[in-house]
Symmetry: C2
Subunit: 308 residues, 2 copies
């Protein structure tokens, strides 16, 4: 089925205890589209970059079967730039610099070829821009996924809630779920957030995995315990990309299939943190993904009959 | 199969954001034996209390099918007393008072009836006392589980490592695993700790569940997301008690069956935190446990065939 990805395409400078990069390809839209591309769909990307982005980076995205017709290139502007430094535990980071550049006045254009999409995923962006994309589609997609972060809760909560009310699945992390709901218990937080509109909620817990909620059910996916985490940048976006790629491949939207999709997303995220930036996402194949999914089966299975 | 439990029997005073108790039945041995008792085994308990413990509390333990022949009553001493206060997030606590009392010079006696046990679980205690029990058994049990905590790492690491080298399964929490191994990555930490002797290691992650390791395999069990956590006291001991009770009932010792045992332990722990102290452990039945185990199945299952 068809998949439309909206999200930033950026240059990142990343510093972790294991090394640093000066200027590497990044951005939520990049991670989402790359991860989704491994599931046999052609992600259509809506984004904006500056003149400095370069033809070679555009070609790189095309090489991974990503449709870049919706990526605007602003001749007089620079590409969105983010720089951050991770602490020793890799669970917290400081943002050193954010230069919005071409993203500041991003006015998303939906090419005619992008209309009539089955799946839409809105990467972390201003909730106003996210909503504009929904409104500029002639027909509502079958399933809309939205990612966001605490930044938007702090500066435009009402706009954020308006966009949240229009989507089917919201993904946020545990601290953001607590902030958005005012509840410490994630079960209570989920109940409140589901009342804001989405049918499904995923609460991401980093190395501890992710929780999926609807009104009746909870599913818990583990994080894969890893020997080394080199760079957590983009892990949440890669998770979302694997999830939506799996859904677009399978087509079925249900709590049961979202369980599977979350495992697919978790597997993709577990790859991503093992190298810097998008490096690992540029170097995967189906055999590696299959083996990683097998690891998730091994990691989680127990004998229902013995237990019950 | 037969089960021997060694651990403190105590009075606790607990304060959480939801309430407080002045003096309530507690102690690792109590939680372990109570949780194990629901799996159709008769836990034989080795412990020590003071004259203030009272016949009614001894009778209470007997009522739950716990053999108390190995519980020494010291006429001139008081029962071990612990008091603590939990912070708002329930994940951290301050110990307000620890009065070792009768536990200070605890010299564990193994009654003749307790010899020839199949399973032995050593609750958190001085590693010297834990080792004494192993040494005072005429025959090594089929399977020895040991719990410990950072306190013993700080004050008698060599004694602790000596006892660790004698057991089959060690249970500690994530911070303790990092301290004991000097490794931040739990995968690396597990590898180092397994080299200290145990064949299996469980790393407890509180609300995030638990990880089981042997040299080749990892299993991840989730924590059950709960609306309310009233009192986490004894959750780790209850987990261990459910685990060893399940193993003693089933008999089979393997990585595959430890997966199931961890789910059983997690289910028991999820009950325990929903009321104060041992309150919920005194008020369970098989139907409640069955339904809770079903919740764990619902919480974790996905479709292997769809994924692979």
């Amino acid at each position: 089925m068809s998949l439309l990805v909206v999200g930033s395409v950026a240059f990142d400078a990343i510093e972790t205890p294991f090394g640093k990069t000066d200027k590497t390809l990044g951005g939520a839209g990049t991670y989402i589209a790359l991860a989704a591309s491994y599931f046999g769909v052609q992600p259509k990307l809506i984004s904006v970059v500056g003149a400095d982005f370069g033809q070679e980076n555009l070609e790189l995205l095309k090489k991974y079967n990503i449709d870049i017709e919706g990526v605007q290139v602003k001749k007089d502007e620079k590409t969105f730039f983010w720089s951050g430094r991770y602490h020793n535990d890799m669970n917290s980071r400081d943002t050193l610099l954010t230069e919005l550049n071409s993203l500041e006045h991003f006015d998303p254009v939906v090419p005619e070829n992008y209309q009539d999409t089955d799946f839409l995923i809105l990467g972390n962006l201003s909730p106003i821009v996210q909503r504009q994309v929904i409104e500029r589609l002639h027909k509502r997609p079958k399933f809309i996924v939205m990612d966001t972060m605490n930044f938007w809760m702090n500066i435009m909560l009402d706009e954020l809630k308006k966009t949240i009310s229009m989507v089917d699945l919201l993904t946020i992390n545990d601290e953001e779920a607590r902030q958005l709901s005012g509840e410490y218990s994630l079960v209570k937080a989920a109940r409140k957030i589901l009342k804001m509109g989405p049918k499904f909620l995923i609460i991401k817990k980093g190395e501890h995995g992710a929780l999926l909620f609807d009104e009746q059910n909870i599913f818990s996916a583990p994080g894969l315990p890893l020997e080394e985490v080199f760079d957590p940048t983009g892990a949440g976006d890669t998770f979302a990309g694997g999830l939506i790629g799996f859904l677009a491949r399978e087509g079925e939207i249900s709590f049961a299939n979202l369980r599977n999709a979350i495992i697919a997303g978790s597997a993709m995220a577990s790859f991503n943190v093992q190298k810097f930036g998008v490096e690992q996402l540029l170097d995967l194949n189906q055999k590696m993904i299959y083996e990683r999914l097998q690891q998730f089966v091994q990691l989680t299975r127990f004998d229902y009959n013995q237990i019950l």
